[in-house]
Subunit: 474 residues, 2 copies
């Protein structure tokens, strides 16, 4: 489908556009190549043009012009997503929001900023202004934007204490532009923020986000080695369950992940060792050391974050960075996303570890989940065929660990976000023509779409009801 | 048994003593009269004299002199315990530590003070010096001392976020004087603090405590009404499970507790309503309001703590203050202590509510417990006979809710503290003659004592191993 890009550019003399093919290609992609399925499927996806608005007014003007010309618009932050969240399946405009970087306020307990602000910059500002920090961030802290995280992410470093973006009280408000002839500005607060969280920008363009902050903490990075995977997983779980130990990260990496893919960490762990990575508050570190003794754990790395020893900040070995490091070493690696629910998260992880051996390398991220301690599994998979990948997912599902499929671009097939009637109605209200990030919400684009029954979603639709206990999508 | 008090006073000219019978009687008791059993059993318990040392050196001198004269010593804070923790069963000296009030330091994340400091004063100092507050305190914040809380308490307001005193990282260190001819000073750190936490001062006299602090929060008191007890309990549980909602208290009070015993709160609730009391951080309050709407909950009270409207701070209606208010109205009321374990805490509470009707009025306190959300039950009981009280406890036990018996003075029969070999060895080391708070640790005083098997303890002995998963006491 050819879009009338020339008219668009002519209509918006104040907006910067990028038309250089190499830059357009670059801004049309994210880390979709984590998945061999998406790598094949999305390699040709390309915007016709990149729009770089400098103000919210320019965003509104761009949306109005695109609406008039029926040009699809796919909003984008830094492009650090892993499933093509911000890739323009129907071409048209990629709306790069990275120039909207104003911080509106930093108060005690909360901050509000434009969606293009880099998370690291917001973190620095929160520390400088008020001794605070973001409750959570992805492992891509140094690159990702606030809006990209909220609209495309789910949680990350900090979720072991604060839960995810899904949880009431983490994302406090969002300012949203609708995709209409005359775009409206909506202020979503309270449970209404669910209508845009992890919706890939399909339900409006988020221009500002208000988030809760936590008091700043002096974190100490640490890595602990075990000779036995079950012992590492049990320690990770026990650490995550320590309610009085202030922590921001509890990651379990089965051997040979450290040795094969995380060079310096692997050397420190030694051959065959499984690692637990963590960030512990200085005031909790002595209690952490007591726990190491009680568990006969071997500390192989510990440092304040300002020390330089060749290692990255520990969070850059965790969450989706683990996969990134592996892919840098071995392009045949891919991954999977699952939830090991409480209270059996360790048991299922140990069983699946034993079952798959070297084909599926366990990577666990402990989180607070609806008042319990659970863990997400982000195992590294030695990819052979798409069929085998589906078999692995089916085995996980059968083991009680639901799949959040990272090898699909649609919200429904990904499975994190429940597209309920409230969500769908909101989509119809904010984007009646379906021009925002088209192809990502099946329930909107496919009139006869009937979602498969699903036990667990991470994100509500618009209703704000707890999702993980729901048993369907309608 | 007659103790040579005259010689003791003569040997310690620098130490203040109280011998006035009325004051000695007053300083020999606590809130043991919460229990009709203890009221009968302990009414005649009396020290021979109250010692009021002004310095740690005077404490040491008092211990040495008492050791030489074989006079029992029972350390005491403000006497806000409920089970005779600090009542001198064998007479002798009550060692009132309330003059030891020096604050050693307040740092970011921790504070250290002498054990006689009042918790409210420590809280005020932490706020003033560094914008911090204690992670948890009993409902007796305004009276209780730091040492009394750590040695006689278990948790309280704040435990819904930080767990209890039992949890690694809440109590960081304790300075302990031994009961020997020449008292030694021990600095217990890490898991070794378990040797004195909730040990009633039987294992040494704690003169200083180091605790973790949390950043100060602007709390908003709130009370929410429901017409149905199950709905109130479910809301309390859901609120406690909100990982992203910063809170310090989640209390459920079945009708007619508010109406019969908590005058103003009961009036606001209205006849027949069940209440959930909570303290919510200002930055989480909007998310809390969203939750109220989602649960169709009726807010009957909300205020910042500095407003004056005749109501006490909300925490003074919770924890053991609920029982206190009831006893002020009706002296036939007593109570029970139990744990409603995760994940069935609401189910067991609702079942027991239906089973007992007006005889046992449900009072739940939600807490973090080993990484889960559970609740303690502190139900109000319309007392008839000791036999019936035991029957009620047995019904609770059979329902999966273990009893922490508040109608006994011994650690073992109370059941919170596991007296393991490490703990017992530490007792023999610090108090070889058994002069410290005699009669409270059966395993020490009764050579043939064989503890009953018990599924749950709150406090480790000295070993620091997780106690709630242990299945025995030896």
């Amino acid at each position: 489908m050819a879009h009338d890009i020339e008219s668009l550019i002519a209509a918006l003399p104040e907006v910067s556009f990028v038309t250089d093919p190499a830059r357009v290609k670059n801004k049309s992609r994210d880390f979709y190549w984590y998945s061999p399925i998406l790598r094949d499927a999305l390699d040709d996806v390309r915007a016709d043009v990149i729009a770089l608005p400098a103000t919210e007014a320019q965003v509104a003007a761009t949306l109005a012009a695109c609406h008039a010309l029926r040009i699809p618009v796919t909003p984008r932050g830094a492009g650090t997503g892993n499933y093509g969240q911000a890739m323009p399946l129907a071409g048209g405009v990629v709306l790069d929001l990275s120039a909207l970087t104003e911080i509106r306020f930093i108060r005690w307990g909360s901050a509000r900023a434009q969606s293009g602000v880099r998370l690291l910059d917001l973190d620095d500002a929160a520390r400088a202004a008020a001794g605070q920090e973001q409750r959570m961030h992805p492992s891509t802290l140094r690159n990702a934007t606030l809006g990209g995280f909220v609209c495309g992410g789910s949680g990350g470093v900090g979720s072991v204490t604060w839960g995810g973006l899904r949880d009431r009280g983490n994302v406090l408000a969002a300012r949203v532009l609708t995709m209409e002839a005359e775009p409206r500005i909506l202020e979503l607060r309270g449970d209404d923020v669910q209508k845009v969280i992890h919706a890939y920008g399909t339900t409006g363009v988020v221009t500002e986000v208000e988030i809760a902050l936590a008091p700043a903490v002096e974190w100490i990075d640490a890595a602990v080695a075990f000779e036995d995977f079950a012992a590492a997983a049990a320690f990770g779980h026990a650490l995550a369950c320590q309610d009085a130990l202030l922590k921001k990260l509890v990651t379990v990496l089965a051997a040979p992940i450290p040795q094969s893919f995380l060079r310096l960490l692997g050397e420190r762990a030694g051959a065959g060792s499984h690692l637990v990575l963590t960030m512990i508050a200085r005031e909790s570190y002595e209690a952490f050391e007591a726990m190491l003794r009680a568990y006969r754990a071997r500390l192989v790395h510990a440092r304040a974050p300002d020390l330089i020893d060749g290692l990255l900040p520990i969070y850059e070995y965790a969450w989706n960075h683990t996969t990134l490091h592996a892919l840098k070493v071995d392009r045949t690696i891919t991954y999977h996303q699952t939830l090991h629910p409480a209270p059996d998260s360790v048991r299922t992880a140990v069983e699946l570890h034993a079952r798959f051996g070297d084909e599926v390398l366990q990577h666990l991220e402990f989180v607070r989940f609806d008042g319990t301690v659970a863990c997400f599994g982000l195992p590294l998979i030695r990819f052979t065929t798409a069929e085998r990948l589906r078999e692995i997912e089916a085995i996980y599902d059968a083991s009680g660990c639901p799949t959040f499929n990272p090898h699909t671009v649609t919200l429904e097939d990904g499975g994190m976000k429940r597209i309920d009637p409230v969500q769908l109605a909101f989509k119809r209200e904010t984007d009646p023509l379906g021009l925002l990030n088209p192809g990502k919400m099946r329930a909107f684009h496919e009139p006869d779409y009937a979602p498969a029954a699903r036990g667990v979603h991470l994100f509500a639709g618009g209703s704000g009801e707890s999702t993980s206990r729901s048993t369907g999508t309608s």
